[in-house]
């Protein structure tokens, strides 16, 4: 078909455009995935028994806010990357600032600790399972977010997939924090971030193929 004919045919279709609303679409995917993830966490791992005491400690809220803020920045980034031509530099800066903040906090925590305890502050007692559990708990969110993104219009597929992966990972980590009783900032900075980054990488790799339109 000639391009001129195509233009005529397309312009004849003046039906109102199916309105695309990235924020509600992504929020719906995020919410649905998070619910599934919370149920899986509660059934599979269980909520930590000392939660009532833990909420009085700073370390509990550190984990809570680190993962929640990371998710917020990743949501912002995903939303930007879900429509053509939107700028993404400010959410990127936000993500970097959060990573820098947790790194500084972890370094400070390590600096003031006696040398003999430092190793334990980093690896804690669940370093071997933490990133994998975060990855598993983030999968429902991952799937729902990709479904949501497929209804939007990302034009940088790897970047958009990576952002959605980070969002899924941070949400999975936030959910996992209801079970996890580690309290050291260095542990969170290393192993939470590792699990989240792994989901991000997975998203980048999948995005290239799953987000085409």
């Amino acid at each position: 078909m000639k391009t001129d004919e195509l233009v005529v045919r397309l312009s004849a279709d003046t039906a109102p455009a199916p309105l695309s609303r990235p924020v509600p679409t992504l929020l719906m995917g995020l919410g649905a995935g998070m619910l599934v993830s919370l149920v899986i966490m509660a059934v599979w791992l269980g909520i930590r028994p000392d939660l009532a005491d833990a909420i009085h400690t700073a370390s509990y809220w550190m984990k809570f806010f680190y993962t929640a803020l990371l998710a917020a920045a990743a949501f912002w980034l995903t939303e930007r990357l879900s429509r053509p031509g939107a700028r993404a530099d400010r959410p990127e800066l936000g993500l970097l600032a959060l990573l820098a903040a947790i790194a500084v906090a972890a370094a400070f925590h390590l600096g003031v600790a006696p040398p003999g305890e430092r190793m334990h502050l980093v690896v804690g007692s669940s370093a071997d399972v933490c990133p994998v559990r975060i990855l598993i708990l983030s999968l429902p969110v991952f799937v729902c977010l990709f479904w949501a993104l497929r209804n939007l219009a990302p034009t940088r597929l790897i970047a958009a997939g990576f952002a959605a992966g980070l969002l899924a990972g941070a949400t999975g980590a936030w959910v996992y924090a209801f079970h996890c009783d580690e309290s050291a900032t260095p542990f969170v900075a290393v192993f939470y971030t590792l699990g989240i980054a792994a989901v991000g990488a997975l998203g980048g790799a999948a995005g290239r193929f799953l987000l085409r339109w």
Binding site: T3, L6, S11, A12, T14, A17, P22
Partner: protein, 183 residues
């Protein structure tokens, strides 16, 4: 005539509100922009692919016109979609690059892993020859052309080709011996 951002955006907004004439002007102008965009990037060899991409992009934009946020420049929105379709096309093309079935024999006939090392050595030796005799030698001994064909290709006489090949072989043999002694 290439329309500018203000005009394109006005046509887009009118088109979204149901004005078919404005929308058609927009698509006309964009198809010219897109044709220039793709032709410049794909080159003359892929001219027909450029036209396909123009159409594909127009359809994609039309289908997802709801993703245009009127607070953003329209050209940025269009450019992002055009760039995505270009990258997608290049990726697909790379994945699709295959040989016709008739040539499959040439791939599977010989296991070249063993000769790869030898070939590497030959290339190294060849590189030490003067350009002219290297070309002749490659043509006769490696590419398997006849002396007459080589002569026709290079514009040399047949006897000159024979002499050149002979000298180059002697030259290489001496160098190969020398290289062997070093090891």
């Amino acid at each position: 005539m290439i329309a500018d951002e203000t005009e394109l955006r006005a046509w887009m907004m009118a088109g979204m509100a149901g004005d078919a004439t404005a929308y058609r002007r927009l698509l006309d102008a964009l198809s010219r922009h897109l044709r220039a965009f793709y032709s410049r990037r794909l080159g003359p060899a892929l001219r027909s692919d450029a036209e396909d991409l123009v159409q594909e992009t127009l359809i994609a934009m039309h289908a997802r016109r709801g993703t245009y946020d009127s607070a953003q420049p329209l050209t940025a929105w269009v450019y992002a979609i055009a760039r995505y379709k270009l990258i997608d096309f290049l990726r697909r093309k790379r994945l699709r690059q295959t040989l016709p079935l008739e040539e499959a024999g040439a791939i599977f006939a010989a296991d070249e892993s063993e000769s790869a090392g030898a070939r590497h050595d030959v290339e190294k030796l060849l590189a030490t020859l003067p350009a002219r005799s290297r070309a002749v030698l490659r043509s006769v001994k490696l590419d398997g052309l006849s002396v007459a064909e080589t002569a026709a290709q290079t514009g040399m006489s047949e006897s000159a080709v024979k002499v050149s090949v002979h000298r180059a072989m002697k030259n290489l043999a001496a160098k190969a011996d020398g290289a062997g002694d070093e090891n």
